[in-house]
């Protein structure tokens, strides 16, 4: 019980870190301090946190263009993350990657990825290493509903299935791929099925759909899938239904969805829901929550200070790291 309480508080904090981190990025992007595209994870925090908390240290994840949440849930250093997003030399990727490519490879993160659906075959490959070198590691692969329409989805899951690879495919179904609805009974849609998890049948693996705004539900489903994978039971597909509070990227006017729809989903906000649950179960009181919130805010503020005070990368860095070992 103690353990489970600690874990639950930890998951709440993890979600709050993502929320604060992303809101802060949003602000600094609007102020013109951050170049390029940023895809925020606001509203989807329960997925990354529920899923990553099912992993062990030796495990791997593949991330996406909407990857800040994954890295944070996996324990990424907020200073190095923020600095990377600001394009600074002190960032995780020395400023060369930015928001879409931010990764800490030492935490088992096999890249965030600007190419939708690219992570799925990479995750399968990580599973091959587990098998060949008998490491016991499981790989968790995040991807969106939109990604599930790409050939890489099909090929990677098929390969994972026939080789029984220890990979858990986690679909973050946030209902849209930019402006394209995942499913609707009529009109434009990315696919003609309500649940992405229905596709598991095509590969002879198990597939489930869970409430992606319920961190415990996500954690439970992924924990089970990870266990199965680790015990030689092969891959699974876990679909988490969720919603992004912001546009596809910052600057998206979201003409393709209604305010009502957004409001409905905001009522299902994963953080307030979980906070209320913890309060109902008397695992957390208001004072504790406020303390947590302050702590999180201070951490992210510090990350911004760190980033703003960090130097730009040296121009010579343009041509290092093209080949491995060159940048050292």
């Amino acid at each position: 019980m103690k353990e489970s309480k600690d874990k639950m508080i930890q998951m709440l904090e993890d979600m709050m870190v993502i929320r604060e981190f992303e809101s802060t990025v949003q602000k600094h992007f609007a102020e013109g301090e951050i170049p390029g595209f940023v895809h925020l994870y606001l509203g989807e925090e329960a997925v990354a946190v529920g899923a990553c908390n099912a992993l062990e240290e030796k495990d791997y994840i593949t991330s996406t263009h909407r990857g800040h949440g994954h890295l944070l849930a996996r324990g990424g250093d907020v200073n190095k993350m923020m600095a990377e997003i600001f394009g600074k030399a002190t960032g995780y990727n020395k400023g060369k990657g930015g928001s879409m490519h931010i990764a800490d490879v030492s935490l088992g993160i096999l890249g965030a990825n600007g190419i939708v659906g690219a992570g799925l075959p990479i995750a399968a490959g990580s599973g091959i290493t587990s098998q060949i070198l008998d490491t016991g590691a499981v790989t968790l692969c995040f991807f969106g509903d939109g990604a599930s329409n790409r050939g890489t989805f099909h090929e990677a899951i098929n390969l994972a299935s026939i080789w029984n690879l220890p990979v858990v495919f986690v679909c973050e179904n946030n209902m849209y791929a930019i402006s394209m609805p995942q499913y609707r009974s009529d009109g434009r849609k990315g696919q003609n099925i309500k649940d992405v998890s229905d596709r598991a049948v095509a590969y002879g693996i198990s597939g489930v759909t869970v409430d992606g705004n319920d961190v415990m539900a996500v954690n439970e489903a992924v924990t089970e899938a990870v266990k199965k994978a680790r015990n030689g039971g092969g891959p699974s597909l876990v679909e988490c239904k969720t919603y992004r509070h912001r546009g596809h990227f910052e600057g998206d006017p979201t003409v393709y969805r209604s305010d009502e729809e957004l409001e409905e989903w905001k009522k299902k906000d994963p953080i307030s829901r979980f906070k209320n649950l913890l309060k109902d179960q008397e695992l957390l009181d208001d004072a504790e929550y406020d303390e947590l919130k302050e702590k999180v805010e201070a951490r992210i503020k510090e990350a911004v200070d760190f980033s703003q005070n960090s130097p730009d990368p040296d121009p010579s860095e343009v041509t290092t790291d093209v080949y491995y070992g060159e940048g050292v």
Binding site: P35, G36, F37, G87, K88, N93, G95, K96, G97, G98, S99, M100, H101, N113, G114, I115, V116, G117, G146, A147, N149, R150, G151, A177, I178, S179, M180, R188, G190, Q191, V255, Y256, D312, P313, P315, E317, V318, T319, V322
Partner: protein, 324 residues
Amino acid sequence: MSKLTYAEALREAMAEEMERDKSVFIMGEDVGVFGGCFGVTGDLVERFGEDRVRDTPITETAIVGSAVGAAMTGSRPIAEIMFAGFLGVPMDEIFNQAAKMCYMTGGQAKVPMVLRAPNGAGIGAAAQHSERTEAWFVHVPGLKVVYPSTPADAKGLLKSAVRDDNPVIFFEHKILYNHKGEVPDDKDFTIPLGKADVKREGKDLTVVATGILVTYALEAAEKLAEEGIEIEVIDPRTLVPFDKETVLDSVEKTGKLIIASEETKRGSFTSEVSAVVAKEGLFLLEQPIKRICAPDAPVPFSSALEKVYIPGPEKIISAVKEMV
């Protein structure tokens, strides 16, 4: 004439061709209500309906493969690939299907399709969203490769591309989308594929440039003119077919050649132009051919690095000064 942005000019080209020919249609990701990632398709879905402006899922392979099938059966698809850096995804469909279908069938099949792809760096979009992939397609027989640098060229070339009976890869530079220029209103205004344009005349040195580098070369030319150096700026406009005569004529006059593109240098379109001149114009050259390109590295994210990465006007200016 109207003053239009490059993006508007492209949109008008599509609208006019769709009005003219009901077999022309558009497909791609978020080209409908979203108006395209860079706003190029804009309101076309309102003007032509969802049947002719088709939002696809994330499915580049099927976009291009189905464009081939549609083109073979009497349609004229204009497919958009959201970023030129994603052209690796449907590469097989471009290379083994679109480009070869006519030849493999002994001339029976025709594949009139256009693949539009936003090219280039400069918006902080990092390594996978800033690519310039034109060199791959220059190397694929059966394709035509187009790359306009002004609104008027954008319109005239896109209209020609739609009317062409062959697959055309049509590159657009992201930074150019907001550039404005005079564009003919004539619904039959087209620019033939395969005809270079001398964007500025000059006697001291020839610069062959593509895409955004045309703009940079013209900026450089302005500055150099202040110092009395007159460079000639040639925009091939179509990389395939390539109008080598216009280039050779210019080199004959100037004796000096710079080839400039935003591509990574090794194996780029600039290599091909260089090879053509080293064969057919060697004795016209007073100096080695210089190529101004991005370094052989992926595009870095940080603005500080991206600025260094992109071959801007200053690089052209200093290269010209070294040579004249």
